[in-house]
């Protein structure tokens, strides 16, 4: 079920309109780090390289990286650049937090549609059964 793509491709994405780009980008990077696309201890591309890949302003990249740094997901080595944390507990809890957020969003949407929790959970199982054996692209 894993869609194989390069780190660079993973960073290409369309921004939605009504939200600061640096927040959207920080979320995306957080996801890539939590998912292990960028591995613990990996060196991140330079600000300029990221700016070119994502096609945004270097200042935007700086701001996004600043947010990740506040969360201790990346660290700066003054001379060598920025690195993904090696704190596996932190990576695990980050991953879980993202997953929970998506799960909650799913349940809220189902609620909006008028589905009961039990119906929503049954639906998940049904969809999962249908997906088995077929590959699908994940849209996050």
């Amino acid at each position: 079920m894993q869609v194989i793509q390069s780190k660079e491709e993973a960073l290409h994405f369309n921004f939605s309109s009504g939200k600061a780009i640096y927040l959207q980008l920080a979320e995306k990077l957080e996801l890539l780090i939590a998912a292990g696309t960028y591995k613990p201890g990996d060196k991140l591309p330079s600000v300029r390289e990221l700016a070119l890949t994502v096609k945004v302003n270097p200042n935007t990249i700086q701001k996004s990286l600043g947010l990740l740094e506040e969360k201790h997901l990346i660290t700066t080595d003054r001379t060598n650049g920025k690195f993904v944390t090696t704190d596996r507990e932190l990576l695990k809890s980050t991953k879980l937090a993202i997953a929970k957020k998506h799960a909650a969003a799913f349940l809220i949407k189902m609620g909006d549609l008028g589905l009961k929790k039990s119906e929503a959970l049954a639906l998940l199982k049904e969809v999962d059964a249908n997906l088995k054996g077929t590959s699908h692209e994940e849209e996050i």
Partner: protein
């Protein structure tokens, strides 16, 4: 790329006015450009974008008002440090690429010829090629390469995306992002906002010769819960 909190402005425009035969084209323009940022000068056709840009490049003399570049009046030093891409090409189409490289080398001390040649090679352009043999898109790329290869403090690009195909547009955005040096700023005028808004730090809306809105692009997106393009369309509905 570290932010300096008390950085003095690169360019300061105050109470600038210009009329052409009784029609007010620039109406009390006040503007401050800081170092290290990409500014979008956004307005419909005829809003006064090119007039403002030409005034900053001393191609148009204002009726009143003041423009300071690094705290000094415009003059040889501002011309040396501002790299300007006009809306229409001024290159002589009967010349070769090499001729224009020579021209820029002799005109501008801060022209990095090596960088320009590298970029031209990445486009598979032969220096002996005549400009008139090149497509319009290629001519525009050449001109942008020449301008962005100057080590300037301020790059002013007047409608760099006008009438180019999406691949050329990507090349132009990449070239801007790769080449604006740390601490230098870029002012891009355009009416094609959706193509460019993700690289902008700050936006300046110009309408009927007046600045109607300025601010950080991210701040405006959050405040209005809309893209800059949407805000623009709603502000300037015909």
């Amino acid at each position: 790329m570290k932010k300096k909190s008390n950085s003095s402005p690169l360019l300061e425009v105050s109470h600038l006015e210009k009329s052409f035969s009784d029609k007010l084209i620039l109406d009390d323009i006040n503007l401050e450009l800081k170092p290290g940022k990409i500014y979008g000068l956004l307005g419909k056709n005829g809003a006064g974008k090119s007039t403002l840009i030409k005034t900053i490049n001393t191609l148009i003399i204002p009726d009143s008002g003041k423009i300071l570049f690094k705290n000094r009046p415009l003059g040889p030093s501002s011309k040396a440090e501002i790299a300007y891409l006009p809306e229409r090409t001024y290159l002589d189409l009967s010349t070769t690429i090499k001729y224009n490289l020579d021209l820029f080398s002799s005109f501008y001390k801060n022209f990095d010829r090596k960088k320009a040649v590298e970029m031209l090679h990445s486009l598979d352009l032969d220096e002996n090629m005549k400009l008139k043999k090149m497509s319009k898109g290629m001519q525009e790329k050449l001109q942008l390469i020449l301008v962005m290869s100057r080590k300037a403090s301020l790059y002013i690009l007047d409608e760099p995306l006008g009438g180019v195909d999406p691949a050329t547009r990507d090349f132009i955005l990449d070239t801007i992002l790769t080449n604006f040096a740390d601490g230098s700023s870029v002012l891009i005028s355009t009416h094609l906002i959706s193509d460019i808004e993700r690289i902008l730090d700050e936006v300046i809306f110009l309408n009927h010769g007046k600045i109607t809105l300025t601010g950080s692009a991210d701040y405006l997106r959050e405040k209005h819960q809309k893209s800059i393009d949407q805000i623009f369309r709603e502000t300037f509905k015909c």
